[in-house]
Each structure stands twice: as C-alpha cells, then as structure tokens.
Amino acid sequence: MDFNIDNLWVLEIAGVEIWITRTIVNTWIIMLLLSALAIFVRIKLKSFKEIPKGFQNAVEAVVETFDNFVKNSGGEKLMPLGKWFFTVFVFIFSSSISGVFGLRPPTADWATTFALAFATFILIHSMGVKYRKTEYLKGFFEPHPIFFPLNFIGELATPISLSFRLFGNVLAGLILMTLYYSLVPLVLQLGIPAVLHGYFDLLMGAIQTYIFGVLSIMFIRGAAE
C-alpha cells in the first residue's frame, strides 16, 4: 500500500495525454453516491410531512443548519451561493470519510484542493466586482499604485494557502495511516485503525472541512462588503 496518486488510464484527446488518476475515479464514486443520496432525498421529499420525523428530520436539520451557517457567516449577500458552499462542505467531508472505506481521499490530491480553492478565488473576485465594482478594483492599487504587484501576489496566495492547508492535512493523515498499515503486524491492524480513522478521517476531516468552508465564506464576504 502506498500513498501515491495512481494513474489508472491514460486518454489521448486531440493529441493531448490525459491521466485518469485514482483521485478522479474516487471523486466519480463519491459523486455517484452523493447523487444517489440526493435523488433518494428528492423522491422521499414528496412524502415529507408537516411535522418532521426520523430521516426527514435529519435532512431538514442538515439543510437548515447549513443555511443558518451561511446566513450567519456570509450574510444575506452570500445566500445565493448556499448550494455551492453546501456542495463544498459535503464533498470535502465525504472525501475525508471515504478513507474509512478504503478509498484514497480525493482531497489528498492537490489538484482537488486547488480546484476548490480556485473556485473560491473566482467567487471572491466576482463577488467583489459585483457588489463593490470599481471600489473593489481600486483596492488593488492601495495605498499606492506601486503596491499593485504585492496586492496581486497577496490575492494569489489565498487559493494557494487554502488548497495546501487542506491538502497537507488530509495527506498527512493518509501517510500516517499508510505507514501504520505498512509497519505494524497484522494483529494490530484489527480494531486500532478504527480509532485512527476516527481521528484522521472523521475528526480531522470535519475540522478541515469546517476551516476550508469558513475561510472561503469569510474571504468572499470580505470582498463583497
């Protein structure tokens, strides 16, 4: 067992080689499972009652908690982005817990975390321009136009730091778990890894999901206000 991102297939499209990595395949698996869950909820929604119970209660609690979280952290302006943040939270957390089921977490690949951080980067600037227009763009030239390169690099640092924080944490957990499985005898691979998975995949996964989500919301809110 190693912690490399294996390449499963290589496609050639219009003369360009495209590596289909384990990350991409695992992402598709997670996407399929989440889509199936979404379709199941959508079907069950038809039979949702006025007073929620059981499964309905859980679904409503998740959506409501998340909605309130976006409203409180991002304000009313970011409410239309609720479903994007919801996806980011669900995807990062699902990726983290996929390690429990033997999948290599897609977030242990910098391409995944940078893709998410890049989306945040696009949202930061599009929201800034949308709500503050020229005042936002003027911010790049303050306190003096000579500072533009520094401000620009500072902005570029946001997605890089966001992506490396998540990537580093998840990869560290994955490396430790791989080392554990590789180094300890078989008898110690029963039971104990559950605790380690609980810590690295569930707890750290939840914490890193929260940090990534909150930071993204804060950056976007900072640009929009």
Binding site: N4, V10, L11, I13, R42, T87, A119
Partner: protein
Amino acid sequence: MNFEIALLSALVPEGRVFGLDLQTLISIGIMLFNVLVLSAVLGFILYEPVKEFMAKRSDRISGQLDDAREKMAEAESLKAEYEKRLAEIDVERIKILESARKTASERSRNIVDEARHEAATIRRHTQEGVIAERERLKEETRLYIIELSSLMAGKFVEHSIDAETQDRLFDETMAQLEEARWLS
C-alpha cells in the same frame, strides 16, 4: 484538428504524490468540472427543493399564525363590543329599575295621599254627623225639657197660681226661651 480519443493502457505512468505540470492542470480542470457538476446535482436535486419545502411550510405556518392573530383580534373586538353592549344593557336595566321604583314610589305616595284624603273626608263627615247628631239630640233634649218643664210647670201652675199669674209667667218664660234660643 484531430479529436480522436484513445485509451493508452500501455503508457500508464507511475503514480505520484504531487506534481506541477500540465497533467496537474488538467486534473485541476477535471476536478473543477466534477465539483461544478456535483454542485448542480446536489443544489438542484437536494438543497434547493428541501429549502423550498421548508420555506413553504414556514410561510404556511406564518400564514396560519397571522390568520390566528387576525381571528384573535376579531374575537377581542367582538368581546369588547359584547362587553360594551352588556354594560349598556346594565345601565338600561338600572334606568328601568330606577324609573319603575320612582313610578311605584309616586304611585304609593298618591295612594297614601288619596287614603289620607279619604280618611280625612270620612273623619270630617263623621265629625259633621256627630255634630249634627249632637245638635239633633240637644234639640230633642231641649224640646223634651221644654215639654217636661211645661208639663211640670203646668202641674205646678194648676195647683199653685191663678190664671193671671200663670199667663204672666208663661209669657216671661216664653220670652226667656226665645232669648236663649237666639243666643244659642
């Protein structure tokens, strides 16, 4: 441009942990596309419909609360109106009772006055009757006394005085009687 897609299974390179090259850029693009697709699926199939369901329910409950509040206000207004009416009825009742009491009081006073008047009339009539009776008895007594006196005087005169004296006395007596009558 040739858009041929080929699976190059023989050329699968070694795995790696991190890299900064074209393949990483392509992976970033694929992952971004994946997350956008997932966002569309989760957003439109799960998040938005559940939110919409909850918003509709919230609106419905809010509407019901508003309706209940309106009905409550209506009931309060009706209650106030009925209480006002009851108060008015109470005032009216008191007025009617007061009027009835006044009428009864006047009537009883009239009855008492009438009774008093009647009693006074009866008393006056009785007193008048008594006076008349007394006068009548007095007259009868006087006549009886006169008759008796005359009779006694006649008897006495018959035995003691002559005719001349008798006539003189008779005249004197008659004169006195006449005088007494006039005086009385």
